[in-house]
Amino acid sequence: MLTLKQARQLRTVLLGTLGWLVALIIFFPIFWMVLTSFKTEIEAFSSPPQLFFMPTLENYIEINSRSSYLTYAWNSVVVSFGSTFIGMLLAVPAAYSMAFFETKRTKSTLLWMLSTKMLPPVGVLVPIYLLFKDFGLLDTRTGLIIIYTLINLPIMVWMIYTYFKEIPKDILEAARLDGATPIQEIVRVLLPISKGGLASTVLLALILSWNEAFWSLNLTASTAAPLTALVASYSSPEGLFWAKLSAVSTLACAPILIFGWLSQKQLVRGLSFGAVK
């Protein structure tokens, strides 16, 4: 018969083991991708798959000589940060107005904004393509920034709105009594209080823009092509270059993955969409 303490210890060990098992299974594809990127092409294709081998950097060297990774990566950085920045400039005032000057139209406006996200992008691809051609926006970073700002804006407004709703109105009224203008109110009072929530909004917008593949593949060719396009360019010859494909995928995902790991605590705390009281 186990004592209560022993039973509790056993339970912790069992749950811990199960937790680790699930986590390792879910993480396995990423681990395997990184592992394969250090194999030779023959090892990558071998059956059964090899877990132990002599690691090589040849895939990474080959990728760098064939295409300049840094150009693609720079495009991804510019487009993600650019669209997130403009998105925040638009979303913060909108969310402020919705949260603190609520009218009877506020809720329907918010839901309408979200419903624009339900539009399947492919449904409007042709018109956007033609408009972009007319305005000279095809294959430009500006064009992608515009699109990403628009597709992420509804979610950003909604997230920030839910954070602002949690802030007691008295704090703002106190600032207003001191003669603060709305802009001052936002900059001096709101932003400092809600920086946690705003940070996770920024993080989510960055992740979504970094990984977006539909518009980037259809609207860019070479000069503005981000990392998603680099990956796609290695996928065409049917599965013959798995090691190189793994290497280029690792390169494309590493920045945002590391970024995500570093900000994981923030993301876990902030990503509640007002669902947690």
Binding site: A23, I26, S97, R176, S235, S249, Q264, R269, F273
Partner: protein, 314 residues
Amino acid sequence: MSISNLQVDKATGAEGSASSVKSQNRQKSRISLAMVSPSVLVLLVWMIVPLAMTIYFSLIRYNLLYPGDEPFVGLENYYYFLTDEGFAAGAFNTLYLVLSVLAISVIFGVLIAVLVDNDFWGRGIVRVLLISPFFIMPTVTALVWKNLLLHPVSGVFAAVWRFFGAQPVDWFAEYPMGAIIMIVSWQWVPFAVLLLMTAMQSLDQEQKDAARLDGAGPLAIFWHITLPHLMRPIAVVVMIETIFLLSVFAEIFTTTGGGPGYATTNLAFLIYTQALLQFDVGMASAGGLVAVIIANIAAFILIRIIGKNLTDKQ
């Protein structure tokens, strides 16, 4: 919102003594309108301009292979799109994909979130590993699953099957939709875990302890305390995932290409093949509009069911 007797805003010149409650109110609404309108305006343009163009294209015969010949054909494109055998398959597959992935993410999301809410060694690392797939590009996800994991000869799954003495499965030939659902779920279960994990942290421990003292078992606690607490975050997960799952594209594009036949063609992919592979802009536009209408019906139903949950605080 309560109206207080405060000065609204010195910069715009409303003096406390001179302004009545009414003018303060008007001013407030003017400020709020000015701040919300940029977002509303850009989204309105973003929605209306392409939509108007799509409606126009859908009413003419417009094929990029035959330029210059663009007669008005009324609803012909809609007729061809809706009676095409791809449409029924596409609509069914869209629904099947969305509902399956939603069910999988909610069920596994809840189970995993409850599991990692327990304190054990290395929990921080476990959490990081669990949410990692959410950071990976859909194109990379699809390529890695297709070539490195599900490949019938040298994939990891095939090796595991052989290890247990089973015949390796050719996933994309035998269970194409199952394979797609597996891949998409791998991306979206972590998102559910991320949100539900956050929610678990705010669960009232005292309530749980009290229930335990009253002799409630773990299952009863889960059913009567944990699950009700998670209902709101689950609604958020369903809402956000539906938005993204309705237009799953990269995962299908890079793995099955919609096939075999129409087995994995969803509406987004069907319209894409029409627009870009057959150059039939007219029919693709009609399809796009049908997809927009279906998406809006889905949005309406969703908002009816869970929208109240999302905007009403307390």
